[in-house]
Amino acid sequence: MSEPIHDLAAPYALDALDDDERHRFEAHLADCAVCRAEVVELQRGIEALADATATPPPSRLKASVMAAIDDEPQERFAAAPAPTWRERLRTLFSSMSWRIGSAAAAAAVVVLAVAIALTLRDGALGPDDVIAAPDAVTVTLPATEAYTGTVEAGVAYSPGRTAAVVTFDGLAGVDGDRTYQLWVIDGDGPTPAGLFVPGDGGRATVLLDAPVRPGDTIGVTVEPSGGSPAPTGEVLFAATV
């Protein structure tokens, strides 16, 4: 608590910072777990105050609000600050340590699972419906330190079709209220690219539902059911195509 910016948690919780200070403090929050925890504790005071004065609105209001949102498009997802995300990913890459085993056999599995969609927006095409595109390349999808367990994972990527498929064998299951989520990370940050849970034997073959361009990174995290607009879990797999 020696640095002045840590002191801003209380005015931040009260929304009593001017715009400049608020933005600075929010940037700081991304890097400071102490302040994140502090903010949440102080916000409990605000929440308690609101609960103590809670008043049910007229019951007609709900129907009115639900009708209003029908005509109200949601804001497009504003990406999490790209530098933070990329830094995080870079850190993960540099600290990755995995042991390579039976590489050749696994590569064969990955190659068999290759599937590229003609276009991402064509919902009729699944990974099983398409055969490897002429320009498809297959790379390993390495697990990061955050992933524990034994797994075979790969990416098949077609630059011409800006499409990619990930494949897993032996992927760990997730709790019932969680899901794996795919991300395509470019200079603007992560874009959600689909949810999945592995099937029998931890197998999954999933077409990413966002365009993948050369130089993009494909990442996998675990998120609450329904997915997240921005990654909240650690990156468990990542590969740059």
């Binding site: 002191d7 009593a16 916000q43 929440e47 105050l49 639900m66 909240t232």
Partner: protein, 206 residues
């Protein structure tokens, strides 16, 4: 290639650790707001049931006119729907995010009504019509808003003064320090101590 990391922990355990680190306040509000951000109307309907009362109460604490408070409540809840994709759990709790939106909108409305009234008065149009007075000054607030009064009762006078100026009037802590002729650090400390006391005296055990 095969990636073999032989460790005894399950992914589930590891995942909970991760979630705690990145989302310290993972709760139903956060889950529903996050789902709302993906366009899930059912999640939004459930979120509405959780927050409509606290949001309406917060707005009523700032705006006098009940129909105006209802109108602002609707605006806030539609704004929650519209901007949910922007919610970032690293920046605080989902519920506080929504409540902040509610206070901002209510305070904005007070200010625009106030400036409208000031303009009206400055041309000498009429004496002030108390039925149309939508703002609370500190004394009226203390006398009339019994619930808020009780909720803030546990604070010291100094804490209450600092928090009210920010919470109900939308002042920044710098403005509060200036108004009270008090050092910035002191104001921040009063705000912090006051919020923690509200958490402890009013909050449900978590």
């Amino acid at each position: 290639m095969s990636i073999t990391i032989a460790m005894p922990r399950t992914l589930g355990v590891r995942t909970r650790t991760t979630v705690n680190r990145f989302m310290p306040h993972t709760d139903l509000h956060t889950e529903l707001l996050t789902a709302t951000g993906t366009g899930d109307r059912d999640a939004f309907a459930r979120l509405y049931d959780l927050v409509a009362g606290p949001v309406f109460g917060t707005i009523r604490g700032i705006l006098r006119d009940p129909s105006m408070a209802e109108e602002v409540t609707q605006e806030v809840l539609v704004e929650v729907w519209r901007t949910a994709p922007r919610f970032d759990p690293e920046r605080g709790s989902a519920k506080a995010w929504i409540l902040t939106m509610a206070r901002r909108r209510a305070i904005d409305r007070v200010r625009s009504e106030q400036s409208h009234r000031d303009r009206t008065e400055s041309v000498g149009a009429a004496s002030r019509d108390p039925e149309r007075d939508t703002t609370y000054d500190a004394v009226e607030r203390a006398a009339e808003h019994a619930e808020l009064r009780r909720a803030l009762d546990g604070l010291t006078d100094l804490q209450r003064d600092a928090i009210e100026r920010a919470y109900l009037e939308g002042k920044t802590y710098r403005e509060v320090a200036e108004e009270l002729d008090t050092p910035l650090g002191t104001v921040k400390t009063r705000m912090r101590d006051g919020l923690l006391r509200l958490r402890d005296t009013l909050g449900a055990p978590s």
